[in-house]
């Protein structure tokens, strides 16, 4: 049986879901791409309410520049959407602070589009978990917009030690979990993780197809992550935007190791989303891990990616429709 994988450019998939009023959740960010959804969405869907989450990094030498860019982007969003609700919270806020916000969003139309492009993983993975757990959320579409480009050089600094993403920790002890690392640009100490959790196998999800020079940075990361210990290694190539393919593979890996998985979300956000969804089926034996950077460069990404027809490169992943989960 062919699996149904409802993902496509956002402007194509959204009209196919017969929803009258959407609630939009987005990031109020210094990255240009946070405005893409406000630009493109009103043309294909009716937005009844919108919530933009402004996440403040700890104070750094970039704070002023980031605040200016964020204000500018927020102004753009406000001109494009009616009645924008802005919630401001610190990056390191305890996850329980997001609980009432998630409830408030879920209490709106029940049909949510969440743009994860510029939100931190610890926030959007947690919110999606809350939405999926909420019986009042009947439709859920996740949107991701590619930037035009990433600059070279270090994009983030001062990453916290690896820990599980809120709401995605291990419940039941797993003595020898398999470690799956999503390959991106930023490294962290996988050796420490292998040491701490006694991983028995290591697998990389490598974004495919490669394009120069992104693949060079991806392979550099693979090189950095190669562990000191000799443990079996597999590199799996999966399209960077194909969340459903990543989810399918993660489930296969999970079934091979009885759900005892450590998934490290360093790679593309669609792969991180797959990890969050795979986690739900592992009955508490898995965890999704991340090393949260505390400082982002103001030019972390530039511009908004475009498709060949000139439209914004925004992809939509339908996770729930009419109360039925589609993953």
């Amino acid at each position: 049986m062919t699996a149904f994988s409802p993902w496509s450019p956002l402007r194509w998939i959204l009209p196919k879901i017969s929803v009258e009023n959407w609630t939009l959740v987005g990031g109020a960010s210094f990255e240009d791409r946070c405005t893409a959804i406000a630009t493109s969405l009103p043309a294909v869907a009716r937005i009844a309410a919108s919530f933009f989450l402004r996440i403040d990094d700890p104070p750094s030498r970039f704070s002023r520049e980031i605040a200016t860019l964020t204000e500018r982007n927020l102004e753009i969003v406000k001109t494009l959407l009616p009645a924008v609700n802005v919630h401001r919270e610190s990056l390191r806020a305890e996850p329980s602070k997001w609980v009432p916000i998630a409830a408030q969003i879920a209490a709106q139309s029940g049909s949510i589009v969440i743009d994860i492009s510029t939100l931190p993983k610890r926030v959007w993975l947690f919110l999606i978990k809350r939405f999926l757990d909420s019986p009042t959320v009947t439709d859920l579409v996740v949107c991701y917009t590619r930037p035009q480009l990433y600059p070279e050089g270090p994009l983030t600094q001062d990453a916290l030690p690896v820990e599980s993403i809120p709401g995605h920790g291990r419940i039941i002890a797993a003595p020898t979990p398999t470690l799956v690392v999503g390959i991106g640009y930023v490294a962290f100490n996988v050796n420490e993780l292998v040491e701490q959790s006694g991983n028995s196998k290591l697998k990389f999800i490598f974004p495919f197809p490669p394009g120069s020079p992104a693949f060079r940075r991806n392979w550099k990361l693979v090189d950095q992550l190669m562990p000191d210990a000799r443990i079996p290694l597999e590199i799996r190539r999966i399209h960077a935007m194909d969340m459903f393919a990543a989810l399918s593979w993660l489930r296969t890996v999970g079934s091979e190791c009885s759900g005892m998985l450590d998934m490290v979300a360093l790679g593309p956000k669609p792969h991180a989303l797959a990890m969050g969804l795979a986690y739900r089926g592992m009955r508490g034996k898995a965890q999704v891990l991340y090393s949260q950077p505390l400082i982002y460069r103001p030019d972390y990404s530039k511009g908004i990616g475009v498709n060949s027809d000139g439209s914004a490169a925004s992809f939509g992943y339908c996770l729930r429709r009419g109360g039925t989960d589609l993953f």
């Binding site: 329980s96 602070k97 600059p151 270090p154 419940i171 292998v194 000191d228 593309p268 956000k269 990404s301």
Partner: protein
């Protein structure tokens, strides 16, 4: 392991060693210097990252002890102990930091209390679960094959079990949570269910069950009940000790910093230690500044007292200590033993001669070159690297250049340095060769000793060359008393050798190789670079990297530009203790760098007239090759203050930022494949 494998490829992954591998790889040298670990009372095992804390604590693990017995290997420290059983919690693996994830849901007025009681209860149940599992495992092994019976004989029959369960279940310490338990299996299931309930709650899967919320136990109390019950029911001997390990204690320090909860979590642990109840004792694995004597005991304004409430095993200090003139420092023997064990686990293991087994480090790395010998590897014999200004007596120039060409390159350089020093300059010796006879600096043994490493650095700088590092002494000294650094150096050297050795030569090799100096030097340079890159890992990674980079650049400049080598000790800095007592970002950064092992901290006996107590810090020796500075700690460090240190740090930070920007502007932009 094959010949073409690197025996040091797996560095120090204690957690993935099976008990059998642990027995093979663990060096008892660590335990020789840590006999308190097996004695009564609380013990704090303190050390930097990679110093071997977790490995030492794992020694207490029941499975490890059984593996020792099965292998017929003497259990380290066995003769010093009373019967004991141990249980432990690894705070990272137990997800202790998640306790704070739902703090904000509590009313502010009871938040601290809720955090302390929930954390204490969670840790209690983690330890109880592990203690019961250890007990059941040991009982089953003793029933099957008498394991550890000579060390701790369990009486685990139906009667003792029933007695034990009754005593535990009836105890008020659980607030009724275990009252329905009629067997150990019941107790274990209830304990596991409680932990699962907690984790599900911390994970926002559900609310906390009221039965848990209303039955939170005080820290350590359940363990006391279990220990009492096991003794009273005669399951364990009356004099049996219970060692409760809490590893990665520094995780609590990090948690408190990120959640702004003061020092609540460490206070709770302190509360456990403060009881000084002989029925159980704790073994805490922590880093230096995470264990802060100023942290109070939860529920009391008091503080723990060293030697009264606990004793400290400071692994860094232990290994730094000189045993005796012949055997050198404790770390030498530890490193040698670890190295020997690695070799024995390879194909070469069966081929080792007695001499190679006795002195494997010397066999593989050989003798470290003297400073004079190392100088002969710098520059060309025909091109003296001595810099004599034109207004000096030309006889000095010809004489020092002759020294160079005749092979005495170090003395040629030291002669130049000596002439540049203030005393000679004042006396005009540099302008008139006839004012002194011979080479006066040659008789000044300590003057030379204090300067020859810095002189080598200057020579290598003039020749645009790297310094040569090789030999047993360099390998050990560059490790900075840290076994992880030692293993990293060995791995890189071995890898460099494997790249150059011909397959035929490898096959013909009898016994372990004697690695040439050139490959050793390449390996050490690579290990230094890896060690520097590793700085980014862990807490404050980028900030620490920038800080270390700032210090390295600062020291290198000081040494290079000090042409008269008046301050050869400027590869470290010293700050007054009273200034370092301040609570500010720079102090936190220095402490964090010290805890991560980037800096080595030493008490400073000041030479300044004020005699104000000071502390000095040096870069970890393995970082020194990267910055091309000497690692030896000689003479006086840079006397500085926090303001200057901050200025040095900020300059580097601005440079880093500008560099990153320049790089992004100068390089072609990254065509995106996906977002992060």
């Amino acid at each position: 392991m094959q010949r073409h494998d690197n025996p040091f490829h797996d560095l120090w992954l204690t957690e993935i060693l099976t008990p059998e591998e642990f027995v093979r790889m663990f060096s008892p040298q660590v335990a020789l210097n840590a006999s308190q670990l097996f004695a009564t009372g609380n013990v704090v095992v303190r050390g930097t990252q990679g110093s071997g804390k977790s490995m030492l604590l794992n020694l207490l693990n029941t499975r490890t002890r059984i593996a020792y017995e099965r292998a017929g290997v003497d259990y380290p420290g066995a003769e010093a102990v009373r019967p004991f059983i141990s249980a432990g919690v690894h705070l990272i693996r137990a997800g202790a930091s998640k306790v704070a994830s739902r703090l904000a849901e509590q009313p502010e007025i009871r938040r601290r209390m809720w955090a302390a009681t929930t954390f204490g209860d969670y840790i209690n149940y983690c330890l109880v679960e592990d203690l019961l599992e250890n007990l059941l495992y040991l009982a089953s092994e003793q029933a099957a094959n008498g394991a550890l019976r000579s060390q701790i004989a369990l009486d685990w029959n139906a009667n003792t079990q029933a007695d034990f369960v009754r005593r535990v279940a009836l105890s008020e310490v659980w607030f009724g949570y275990l009252k329905h338990c009629t067997s150990v299996t019941d107790i274990l299931a209830a304990v596991s269910a409680r932990l699962t309930g907690y984790r599900g709650y911390f994970n926002f899967n559900h609310e906390l069950d009221a039965s848990i919320e209303q039955s939170k136990t005080a820290i350590a109390q359940p363990l006391l009940v279990i220990a009492d019950a096991l003794r009273s029911a005669h399951v364990v001997p009356n004099n049996a000790l219970f060692f409760l390990r809490i590893d990665q204690h520094e995780e609590l320090f990090a948690l408190e910093q990120t959640t702004g909860t003061g020092s609540i979590f460490r206070q709770v642990i302190n509360s456990a230690l403060s009881a000084r109840d002989g029925r159980v004792s704790f073994r805490i694995g922590t880093r230096h500044y995470s264990w802060n004597d100023n942290v109070q005991i939860w529920g009391s304004g008091a503080k723990l007292e060293n030697m009264r409430d606990y004793v400290v095993i400071d692994l860094d200090e232990t290994f730094r200590r000189r045993e005796n003139a012949r055997s050198g420092r404790a770390f030498d023997a530890f490193a040698e033993d670890v190295f020997r064990r690695r070799l024995l686990s390879t194909d070469f293991g069966t081929e080792l001669t007695e001499d190679q087994k006795e002195n494997p480090l010397f066999w593989v790395f050989g003798k470290t070159l003297t400073a004079a010998e190392r100088a002969c590897n710098i520059g060309l014999p025909t091109k003296p690297l001595v810099s004599i200004p034109p207004d000096w007596d030309p006889r000095w120039k010809s004489e020092l250049e002759e020294l160079w060409t005749s092979g005495e390159r170090l003395h040629a350089k030291l002669g130049e340095v000596w002439l540049r020093q203030a005393a000679q300059q004042r006396a005009g010796v540099h302008r008139d060769r006839s004012l002194v006879e011979g080479h006066p600096w040659r008789g000044q043994k300590y003057w030379i000793k204090e300067r020859n490493e810095a002189a080598l650095v200057q020579l290598a700088g003039s020749a645009i060359q790297s310094l040569v590092w090789s030999g047993q002494r360099n390998v050990i000294d560059l490790s900075g008393f840290n076994i992880l650094a030692f293993m990293s150096i060995c791995r890189s050297i071995w890898a460099a050798w494997l790249r150059y050795v011909q397959p035929g030569d490898l096959a013909k090799l009898l016994g372990p190789p004697q690695i040439p100096e050139s490959e050793q030097s390449i390996g050490i340079a690579e290990a230094s670079k890896i060690w520097f890159d590793k700085l980014r890992e862990g807490f404050d990674g980028d900030k620490r990297t920038t800080f270390v980079s700032a210090l390295g650049t600062w020291f290198a400049k000081e040494i290079r530009e000090d042409r008269s080598l008046s301050n050869p000790g400027h590869n470290g800095f010293s700050i007054m203790n009273r200034e370092f007592a301040r609570d500010c970002e720079m102090v936190r950064l220095v402490k964090s760098s010290r805890d991560q092992g980037d800096l080595i901290e030493v008490e400073h006996t000041t030479k300044s007239a004020d005699q104000v107590p000071r502390t000095k810090w040096y870069l970890h020796p393995l970082l020194c090759p990267t910055f091309r500075i000497p690692f030896v700690r000689t003479k006086e460090p840079i006397y500085t203050n926090l303001a200057e240190l901050e200025a040095v740090f900020r300059r580097e930070q601005l440079g880093y930022q500008a560099g990153a920007r320049r790089k992004s502007i100068g390089s072609p932009d990254q065509a995106t494949l996906f977002g992060d």
